[in-house]
Amino acid sequence: MSITRRTALALALATATTLAGAPARAADDIVIAGSMPLTGVFAFAGIGVHAGIQDYVKIVNDAGGIAGRKVVYVAEDTAYKVDQSVAVFNKLTSQNKVNLYYGDSTGFAKTINPELNRLGTMMMAGASFATELNDPKAYPLQFMAGPDYTEMVGILLQYIAKTKPGAKIAFVHSDTEFGRDPIGPSEAHAKKLGLDVVVKIVTPPTAVDVSTEILKLRRADPDFTIFHGYVLAPLPEFMNQAKQLGLKTKFMGTFWSMDNSLWGKVGEAADGFMGVMPYRYYYDAEGKSPMLEKIRAMRPEYQSTPYLQGFLTTMLYLESAKRVLEGGKELNGPNLKAALNSIKDFDTGGIIGTPITITGNSIPVGRVYRYDAVKKAMLPNSDWIQLGK
């Protein structure tokens, strides 16, 4: 192939740009990379997670890094599309010696799993709490920084069984992989706890109006309605109409619909909404929370629940990396995961209000919070609930 002057110039220019664009990086840096949904339907979460990872990395680097090694974080936007997430993964892992990866969706976690296992160089976590991923055999190099979706609903069911034995339950979920995730096993769990699942309502992903669903809910007249598979809409409209109709049911949700600022914008109708949270809120002042204090010092304004998810995920990444390095082992996927699974009664600095132990791919701990419209805050409504205990 002959190279013309123009091609040579273009090549030189491209090389120069790449070199100029890539920050200087030491060979022993610990690299966290991420496929981040900074735009698209999940941008609300991606932006928070991104900031949380950045902040924890900064805290660690300011304190001298991990065993003297600097932590570097690189990420690119995926718009919450699996193909783009994979492209970002390929790009970032070919440009960097990545040790830890953050994935943006269940679809991506499943798609990339064989490649992750083949490479064996990194451990991965992400925004997905899919029940399917909570299987150390099938997903040996992945984990999630909280309970999986079935465990989240399990925590709610346990709370209900304790506060109102024999209660009538309704499940409302979106007709998506995310929405369907915990429903089957949760029905069985509810039965085991002596609760009565009176209706299951499915909403299509494009649903706006929920009038017909409310009519169904009214006929079933449950004591508790558990939503899953949504961020915010259509929950407020459900609650508004239920209030209009005088329904007595209490509404509950799972992690991604628990952000305080989102409910703050809903106003009066948000009052009484409950849900499961694996972490404390940004403003929680109870107990000792040195990490929350650090976060509040770094960022005086409220930080979202996805922020805390990103922050804690990074804490677990780097705690694992620290353990691997302290053990004098190579920083690779299996060693990182083994180090993660050695975490026992670990203090998260108050992010989770109880010491955590990670034996598999999840942390089956959470607490029920309840929104108070007068105080404009999610407030704790139960103690920390640990499944299996």
Binding site: F44, A207, N240
Partner: protein, 295 residues
């Protein structure tokens, strides 16, 4: 015979009529543009979203009362329609229908990006301007927002039907739709008609956006509602205003009945099944003009 709950059926049907009206109003925007310019505008969901966000800014941001915020948001919708037509669509005149279609897909992405930049990615709620007391038609409960949505959609669509029949501008639009060359030779300013169609479509989309946002909240992902409306106009006929109304009501009712008696997971299946069935029997939609070129 099993005991059939007629009251429940009535309530479900009323809810279906209401959500069908929202679909019809969005469908109207599709139809206006297609009828005048033969362009299929896949960015209609995003235009609707801009209308909702404009209302959000005027009401929640600037604190305007709803009677001032609604016209202001509608004006923004109209302006957006005009700008899109002048800056993006008119340069595409004479290009193939597929090219224009692709441009509108890109336009949708641009509008989503603009919303994320200007308003952020978090979902939000529109201020409640419709009141919260429930409406009962006899013993049957209907959501207040849905009643208002239905009334607005029915009024707007009736106005458009009358305008197409009796108003000079409406007649000019119909003439342009039928034969551009003949319309030109009769002295109709075709580019102005094109602009007008986009402006009215922008206003209708903004109106639909305010109603959809009031019911379902707003977020940069709300434009996906436009996809449901696309089904409505294909069923009703891409160039028929009456078709949008009947298609909307039909799809709304079928979705409500399906969701109630079969389960929500069947809604999309049945809706798109209906779409395929209609396309097989009447490829131009129930009320569309026969010579419509399919994409």
């Amino acid at each position: 015979m099993i005991d059939f709950d007629w009251l429940f059926f009535l309530e479900v049907s009323l809810a279906g009529l209401g959500s069908g009206a929202l679909l019809a109003l969005t469908g109207l925007s599709f139809v206006l543009i297609y009828k005048a310019t033969r362009a299929v505008n896949l960015a209609i969901g995003e235009m609707l979203m801009i209308g909702a966000y404009a209302f959000f800014s005027f009401s929640a941001g600037l604190g305007l009362p709803w009677w001032a915020a609604v016209p202001a948001a509608l004006a923004c919708g109209g302006l957006l329609g005009a700008v899109i037509e002048r800056a993006v669509i008119r340069p595409m005149l004479g290009e193939s229908a597929i090219s224009v279609l692709m441009v509108t897909i890109g336009l949708g992405s641009v509008l989503i990006g603009a919303v994320e930049l200007l308003w952020g990615a978090d979902p939000a709620q529109l201020p409640d301007f419709m009141g919260t007391s429930p409406v009962f038609l006899g013993p049957a409960y209907v959501s207040r927002k849905i009643v208002i949505g239905f009334a607005v959609a029915a009024t707007v669509i009736t106005l458009f039907i009358l305008a197409f029949r009796f108003w000079r501008g409406g007649v000019a639009l119909r003439a342009t739709a039928t034969d551009q060359g003949a319309a030109y030779s009769c002295g109709i300013d075709v580019p102005v008609v094109f602009s007008m169609a986009w402006v009215f479509a922008g206003v209708a989309a903004a109106g639909a956006g305010i109603l959809v946002g009031a019911v379902g909240g707003i977020s940069p992902a709300m434009g996906i509602f436009g996809l449901s409306a696309l089904v409505v106009v294909i069923v009703g006929g891409l160039d028929s205003v009456v078709g949008a109304l009947i298609g909307g009501v039909l799809v709304g009712l079928i979705e409500a009945w399906t969701g109630t008696y079969l389960g929500g997971e069947f809604k999309t299946l049945i809706t798109f099944g209906l779409l395929i069935a209609v396309l097989m029997v009447r490829p131009y939609g129930l009320f569309g003009t026969v010579e419509i070129e399919r994409l």
